[in-house]
Structures are given as C-alpha cells and as structure tokens.
C-alpha cells in the first residue's frame, strides 16, 4: 500500500457474543487491515472497549470509522490518532541470561524501568509496559542477548482529559 498511516481507534461495543467476529468480518470483507487489537470489559456492565491499530491510506480511514459505526453493536468510535492520549502495551520477554550477560540485561531492565517477573538458571522473563516506541527500543537492545520468546498485548489507550500528548 502507498502512503499508509497508522491510526489508533478506541471503540465501545455491546458486550455480546459475536461482536468481535462482526468487526473482524468487516475488516476482512472490505479489505481493511487490523494491526493490533485489544478487547476487555469496561466499568459499565454490558459494554466492552476495543482498542485497535489499523494501517491504511488517509482516505480509507473515514470509511473504516463509518463502517464500524454502522455495525449495530458498535456504540462509539473514537479516533485518538490526532488527539492527546495515553497508550500502553504490555509485553513479556524471555531472554537468554548467560552469566556473562546478566549484568547487561539487568542494566537494560533498570534503565527502562521494567520488572523481572521470572528467573531461571539460564533465562529471565521481563515485563515491559509502555508505549509501542519503548517496546520496540527494549526489544532491539535485548535481541543481541538472545530473545527466546515474546508475548505482547495490542495497544490500549485512553484519551487525556487535558494536558499534553
């Protein structure tokens, strides 16, 4: 695709079976693209929040938002892309922790204010929480030490009441 941008959508939906399938079906049926997706309940009963990152050309995003809103179970579609928001992504990264590398790993963990949540004879599992930039940075630093596996959530985000991005 040419000139694609990344958009961050925060979508409130009825908490009903099949809603995710309606949204996923809309994207596959119309050739839209889901980059990451995160779904969980909200403080309001029967309402879930879906946070989605989609990459597309600028003229497509309006159609995506309108089509999402047209789904009967979708309550609101909020495009956070050009707004002020806080965004987080959670990742668990299991790295090789050979004795000579342990100090390096711990330094990275310290600098990025991550946590070690599991320790083995030859590995650490690190919990990283932050925006996608921080996530990418720590992955690139840990890669030389030998990443064994990564589990990561999609982005979640909320608009800020005020203040700076």
């Amino acid at each position: 695709m040419m000139n694609t941008n990344s958009y961050l959508l925060s979508i409130l939906v009825d908490d009903e079976p099949g809603v995710l399938s309606r949204i996923a079906g809309l994207f596959s049926g119309r050739g839209f693209n889901i980059d990451s997706l995160s779904v969980a309940s909200t403080a309001e009963p029967d309402v879930s929040r879906i946070t989605m990152v989609t990459k597309c050309e600028p003229q497509i995003i309006d159609q995506i938002k309108k089509q999402l809103h047209k789904l009967i179970n979708v309550i609101t579609v909020n495009d956070l892309t050009d707004k002020k928001y806080v965004q987080r992504q959670l990742a668990l990264i299991k790295v090789n922790a050979q004795p000579e590398k342990k100090a390096d790993i711990l330094r990275v963990v310290d600098i990025f204010r991550c946590k070690i949540v599991d320790v083995g004879l030859s590995h650490y599992t690190i919990e990283v929480s932050g925006d996608s930039g921080k996530h990418d940075a720590i992955v690139s630093l840990l890669k030389p030490m030998g990443i064994i596996e990564i589990a990561s959530t999609g982005s979640i985000a909320l608009a800020r009441e005020n203040g700076k991005k």
Partner: protein, 563 residues
C-alpha cells in the same frame, strides 16, 4: 397465561401488522408450523424452495413498502435462504427471516441440519440474532422488525433454536425499542440545505439523480416538485425507476451502463448534480474519474457510509431523503422563480437535441420479434400501471428502458446483487401484497429456469402472476459481452435446449402461450394478461439482439456503444 416460543413468535409477527409470510417447513420449525395450522389472519404461502420464500418476502416488502417475512428451517433451509438475504441486503429491502436452529444444547456439535447461519449471514444482513433464551424472544423479534424498517432498511435474520420454540413463558408485551448503539439520523442539517438552494441558484446545467433511497423514503412527490420548481431534468438509477414519472418532459431516462444517451450525456456535462438516495454503484458511474467531471455534487443519504465512498461530493447531507427534500423545497419557496430557473432553456434545448438525435431505438421488422417491442406493447396494454418484476440480464435492462414507470413501487428488480431467479418469486410476493394489481415478471429463458419451481406456488396459492419470457435461446447479456469483448466466442451461453415452456406451464397447472411472429405479439399479450390465473407467455425473440446504449465496463459513461 403461558405461551410457548412458537406462539410468541406468531403473536409478535401479527403485532407488526404482517398478514402474509412465505415459508417452508422442516424439523426445527415444526412447532411454528403446528401453530400456523391454527392461525387465522396470518396467511402462510408455501413456496417450493427457500430461496423463493425470501425473494417473495422481498417482493412483498417492495410492493407495499412494508416488511416481508420468510420462515425456513435449519441447515439447508437456512443456507438456501442466503441468496435471497444477500439480494435484499444489496437493495436495502426490509425483510425479517426466521430460521430454525437445532436445540441450544446441540449447537456446535455438528448436529443433523445444523449450520452456523448467524455466522454465514453476518456480512449480508443488516443485523442478525441467535435467540438463546425464551425471555429474550419477544424483544428480539420486535428489535428485528425495528432494525429492518428503520434508518437504511435491510434484512434481519433471527435464528430460533428448537428448544426455545418449545419453552413456555408468561408472555409480556416488550417495551419500546431503544438501542444505545443504533440511532439513525433522519433530520438533515439545515445549513447544508441552504447551501443546496444557493447551488441551484448558481447552476446553469443542473440534474437530479434519484436512486432507490427516494423510493424507500417515499419521496417521489418531493423529487417531482423539486424538478418542476426549478426546471431540473431528472435521471435515476435502476433502483430509482418510478421515483419520477417516466412520461414527464423533464425525464431523462435511466443512467449508467445501459442508460439513455441523453441521461449519460447530461451527467457528463452538468454543473450541478443533486443525488438523492444513491450509492454511486460502478454500473452507474463507469470510470469514476470521468463521472460528472464538471459538476458540483450534492448527495443526500441516510447512511453516512454511502457518502464519499465511491466519489467525492461537495455538499453531503446525511438524513432521510424525504425530510431533506422537503427542507430544500421549503427554502426554495422564498426564492424568485427566475433565480431558480437561471439559464434553463439552453440546457433543456441541449438535452432535447441529445434526445432527438440519439433516442432509444430498435427496428421491428415483419419476421422476427424484437424483445424491446414486446416490452413496449406490454407497457401500452397495461397502460403503464402494472407492477413489473424482472429476472437479471437483458430482460431486466429492456424492461427498465422500455416500460416507462410513472409511479414508485412498480418496478421490482434485483439491482445490486443481480440475482437471476429473482423475478418469479418476487412477483408472487408483490401480488400477495397487492392482490388488485396486475403483476408481470419480465424474464429471460435462462433466468426463469432458476426458480421455475415457484410456478407451483403461484398456481397452488391462486396468486395470479403473468410471466413474459423473452426467449432468445441464449444467456443474452453474457452473450452480448462475448460478442463485443470476447471475439464472439459464445462459451456456454447457448441455451437452445430449453424446455417447452407451454408444456411446462401446463404441467404446473398454469396456462402457456407461445408467440413467434411480430404481428401476434399484441394478441398473445392481451390474451395472457386477461387470462384469470398464472400464465407463461413465451416470445421467440431475435437471438442476437443486444442492449444499447452500452458503456463498456470501466469506461466513461459519455462514451457509449450505440445501435
């Protein structure tokens, strides 16, 4: 008082004012049929294939602008209904389809006649439901009807597990439907309406383009008043035929791939297009880049996704067509007539020239019947007052070109999906809705065979439909494309082996007539139309007649192939 689920269903259907449903029994809906046997005031028409039930419900909905209802069983009953549902979805037709489902305890176990019909129909319904509890049954049905008919209408499917239909409940009338996630916007933005009036005053070459949305919102009167008030010529999409009188001097004819020369040229040269209830389908626009290149475009639509989807518009109006047009008309009343009809004579003269130099035409000789001639004679004999349904292909285009629809709800055709086999069951539905109207299915020899079994439905239910088969012994529209774009390689479009339609009609207990000569067309039509009961009139027409004008797919609509 206790009711079972089947009784609740029937109560709710009746409460919606529905007097006729179309269906086919089966194991999972047997409880509903047990109740139907005891009903008065709710007519059930037994079709011969579930696809027919849904098309009939669709025809019913279009003919009297209500909601059509179809009832089918689980598994194959439900999958057979899918083409009908997708057809209604493409044309925004309000129908509610009830499907049987295996008992909730068996769902997901690959039970006998189980399919995930909610999953299958998600992309081709406006919304769908699986009812998992008897407590939710009545409110779900009410919601289904509400969704089907409100906003941009469409098909809604309700999947009913057998144990829910058998479960007992103290029936309570469900309250008013209010959905936090669904609030269609009917009321147009007044600022935008003012803008339209200003645009009309500035325009020298305006055109109104009416679509199916005008028919749905019942805004024909408003379109007509707008056209007259400012002398604006009117064209329509296939779905919009009848929105504006076909005999009016301001009528341009249909737009698009098989539109009239003057309609397509008008769009190519207009400086203002007021598009109401249209979605700019590729069969209308041709090459998007060359569509209305000099025009400012106003688009009125209740569905925001229709706006800016295919073409950029200058003045979008989200709202009900009728409300928006009323608003515009109201604002125009304060204007001077001269301001509104600015420079109109030149524009109308230009259109008249296009009309007189390049009209719709064909040459009827003395030997071979031309299909257009049959449709023209049909128009004359019925005085333009019949409800016309069509199949899909050349028959559909000739009906659209040569039957001049003066009123809305008189042309019933599968526009968006282009479903062959639509016309006969849709005619049955239309006739069930409007028993006093003459209903004629204009068919081809190919497509009539796709749901021919519904002839039995018409005969059995004494639903009197007239079928005009334009028999050219080809799948004519595909043949036409092969002739024009595939070097006349008529690959598998030859249909010389058709059944004897006269005998076929008789086998089903209908009347069959055949016509092979131009000078007999009128008398055969008149005999068939006046016959009491269902009739097939077969016309052996010119085998290689093509539909013109024609815009090759993807071309500019002003560059037409002409006769």
């Amino acid at each position: 008082m206790k009711f079972n689920g089947a009784q609740v269903l029937i109560k709710m259907i009746k409460a919606e004012g529905i007097d006729t449903i179309f269906g086919y029994p089966g194991g999972c809906v047997i409880d509903i049929y047990d109740e139907l046997a005891k009903q008065e005031g709710l007519r059930h028409i037994l079709v011969r294939h579930e696809q027919g039930a849904v098309h009939a419900a669709d025809g019913y909905a279009r003919a009297n602008r209500s909601v059509g209802v179809a009832l089918v069983t689980s598994g194959p009953g439900a999958t057979n209904a899918v083409t009908g549902i997708a057809s209604a979805h493409s044309d925004s037709i309000p129908i509610v389809v009830f499907t049987g489902q295996v008992p909730t305890a068996l769902i997901g176990n690959d039970a006998f006649q189980e399919v995930d019909i909610v999953g299958i129909t998600r992309p081709c319904t406006k919304h769908n439901y699986l009812v998992k509890s008897i407590d939710k049954l009545a409110s779900t049905i009410k919601e289904a009807f509400y969704l089907a008919r409100s906003g941009r209408p469409g098909p809604v499917l309700v999947d009913l597990p057998k144990n829910i239909l058998q479960a007992q409940i103290d029936f309570e009338e469900p309250g008013k439907i209010s959905l936090k996630s669904y609030k269609p916007n009917y009321k147009p933005n007044k600022k935008q309406l003012n803008k339209v009036v200003e645009m009309i005053k500035k325009a020298k070459r305006p055109v109104i383009f009416a679509g199916g949305g005008v028919i749905v919102s019942q805004a024909s009167e408003q379109i007509t008043r707008l056209a007259k008030m400012a002398d604006i010529p009117v064209t329509a999409s296939l779905m919009g035929l009848g929105a504006f009188p076909g005999s009016d001097p301001l009528w341009l004819g249909m737009l698009g791939m098989h539109g009239t020369y003057r309609a397509n040229m008008s769009i190519g040269h207009c400086d203002l297009m007021i598009a109401a209830g249209v979605r700019f389908d590729d069969r209308v626009t041709g090459n998007i880049e060359k569509f209305a290149p000099t025009a400012k475009i106003v688009q009125i639509d209740i569905d925001p996704t229709s706006i800016h989807k295919n073409i950029e518009v200058h003045c979008p109006i989200v709202g009900d067509c009728k409300a928006a047009l009323e608003g515009i008309l109201h604002l125009m009343e304060d204007q001077k007539t001269d301001d509104l009809k600015n420079n109109r004579p030149q524009w109308l003269d230009q259109i008249e020239e296009w009309k007189s130099t390049t009209p719709l035409k064909y040459n009827q000789g003395s030997e071979v019947i031309k299909p257009q001639f049959v449709v023209e004679k049909l128009y004359e004999l019925t005085k333009g007052d019949a409800i016309i349904t069509t199949e899909v292909g050349q028959n559909q285009m000739w009906a659209a070109q040569y039957y001049h629809f003066n009123k809305p709800n008189h042309f019933i055709t599968s526009g968006g999906l282009g479903t062959m086999g639509f016309g006969l069951p849709a005619a049955i539905g239309a006739k069930a809705a409007c028993p006093d109207k003459l209903v004629v299915d204009v068919a081809g020899d190919g497509s009539i065979q796709m749901n021919i079994q519904e002839l039995m439905t018409a005969v059995e239910s004494k639903i009197d439909v007239k079928i005009v088969i334009l028999n050219n012994q080809y799948l004519g529209m595909v043949r036409q494309w092969q002739e024009l774009f595939y070097e006349k390689v008529y690959s598998f479009t030859n249909m010389e082996n058709t059944p004897d339609f006269v005998k076929l009609a008789e086998a089903y207990g209908a009347k069959g007539l055949r016509c092979t000569r131009p000078d007999e067309v009128e008398s055969v039509l008149s005999q068939g139309l006046n016959h009491e009961g269902t009739v097939i009139m077969e016309f052996a027409v010119d085998k290689e007649e093509s539909v013109y004008p024609m815009v090759p797919a993807g071309g500019s609509i002003t560059e037409m192939l002409l006769v």
